[in-house]
Symmetry: C2
Subunit: 323 residues, 2 copies
């Protein structure tokens, strides 16, 4: 696939065996309580039910299944303290590959332990994330291994498999709302839904406290922006070119929601679905509540992309939202 082409439905279908060799399809559940709140027929796609609590694991499994022999021998390299790093570690483990993950000095010990628990080698390097990433990219190149960025095409095709599950479980869906960090999720959903039925509306949503991807999509110019959101899964400061071109081709809309509304949505999701959503995973509900007039009476899928909210953040959120 060159940089000029866009992954297709066929590429997503080809990713399925790579995903289902290790994962079960996730459920799509209707929630009468949320439907009443939004004034639409609301369903939740539970990617928070994945083994490491996040949709990204699908993409990492597809990528790991498509390495060259040389890459496979050396292994996977990335820089991440979060869901991306855990996904790479998970995929490496089940494929019997080595995963080397760089993090800045002082990175969260709990997250480092989680990646090490999955068998990854975690290396502390440099004072900040950019330094760690540049160093590990050079390492990967020198060793002829595979560096994995957060928005690569095999990742998009892998995560697109959850959109195929939505299409099978709810063929007459009207609108799918997807949170955006680097954009692999929303690209996978767009490619699948728009190819199968261009009338399905795909709406991206992001925190207003991290609007780089939305600004870039609106203007067509890659634009960095201030990043202050609490929602780590969507904490993007510099936009990704690869996903932007796919989003500009397919996406119907891209809305911003305030961090405070995302936190309120975490509480509503606990109350009505008894599922713990991380900030990113609660963004679609916050967006749906903002778009009530437009969604009235429609069949709406909210993608709960992940559930990795720390106990500390959960306590703080429950302390502030007495709904």
């Amino acid at each position: 696939m060159t940089n000029e082409t866009i992954p297709t439905l066929q590429d997503v279908i080809a990713a399925r065996p790579n995903v289902y060799r290790y994962l079960k399809p996730t459920p799509l559940h209707p929630y009468p309580g949320l439907s009443k709140l939004v004034g639409a027929d609301v369903w939740v796609k539970h990617e928070n039910h994945q083994p490491i609590g996040v949709f990204k694991v699908r993409g990492a499994l597809n990528l790991a299944a498509n390495l060259t022999a040389e890459e496979g021998q050396v292994g996977l390299f990335t820089a991440s303290t979060g869901n991306h790093g855990q996904s790479i570690a998970f995929a490496a483990r089940v494929h019997g590959l080595k995963a080397t993950i760089a993090v800045p000095e002082g990175a969260n010990p709990g997250k480092v332990a989680a990646m090490r628990g999955l068998g990854a080698e975690v290396i502390f390097y440099g004072p900040d994330f950019d330094t760690a990433r540049e160093w590990i990219m050079a390492e990967a190149e020198a060793q002829h291994g595979r560096f994995v960025g957060p928005a690569e095409e095999p990742l998009i095709c892998g995560v697109g498999t959850y959109a195929l599950e939505i299409m099978e479980d709810l063929p007459d869906v009207d609108t799918i709302i997807v949170p955006v960090g680097a954009g692999s999720g929303v690209c996978g959903v767009s490619i699948v839904a728009k190819t199968i039925n261009p009338k399905i509306e795909v709406i991206a949503a992001q925190s207003a406290q991290a609007p780089a991807m939305q600004l870039s999509w609106k203007t067509g110019e890659l634009t960095a922006a201030e990043m202050k959101t609490f929602a780590e899964g969507v904490a993007t400061r510099v936009p990704f070119k690869n996903t932007q071109r796919i989003m500009r081709r397919y996406l119907d809309d891209f809305v911003l929601v305030d961090d405070e509304d995302i936190k309120a949505a975490v509480v509503l999701l606990l109350e009505h679905t008894h599922n713990l959503a991380e900030g990113a995973g609660a963004i679609p509900l916050a967006a749906a509540l903002q778009l009530k007039a437009r969604l009235a009476g429609k069949k709406v899928v909210l993608v709960m992309s992940g559930g990795n909210l720390s106990l500390e953040k959960l306590r703080a959120i429950l302390g502030s939202y007495k709904n």
Copy 2:
């Protein structure tokens, strides 16, 4: 099936199509953080991922698929304000049956709304639960419908399907720990696991603040006991004869854990699995922590039977456990 026979593995296998017509298998995930805490290889069976957040829905679907024509025409009757009632309502809806559910006057409005949201007719009757149940049993008989108690054999066979999933996903499991309310879950697990491999240890667990089922199992005499637990899913005061006879045949052990330890386990599960467990669903972890010496190094499955913890209870628990 007469009262003298015990359901078999074959009955559970026969229930599978009735369950999978409407539900996906639930995941069984390993958790390195819990393994470290318990000192064993700890896996969690996520029955909290079911559409209404609880394993019981499997049993109700099997029961609804096995009605006589006359029962089907009149519909299902039960008395419940909790997971049992929601399960019956769910199964009735997908089967196009009428569900009539009696609750005492003053029953929790949120739970009544949940059952009505699933299409059930909810009738308030009498000052307490026993009055409501006796009335609805008489109604069911008068109308020739089907009254469904909490521990009937078609329910046991339906819920046993999750144990078959455990056996498929982790064939070399050593120990399965299951919470006990009326006992349908632990009976389904025992029948399946012990028939496939008698060496698999099945341990039941209940709140020390509701020990009727444990006392009855220990003594062989049906013994009512004080019931003060916060965990509604296991709030049993009067033991069930039907499940006791199966438990006495198959069960390896039955332990009690204190309500305070169950609450601490709810917090540990949030932290390490990012899943919300109701009290019953957290009992197996509390039991495993109590049985550390005995479980050391073993492959242990904790059944997270359900996730229906109210926001109010969650706030209270997080407020008291500052781990």
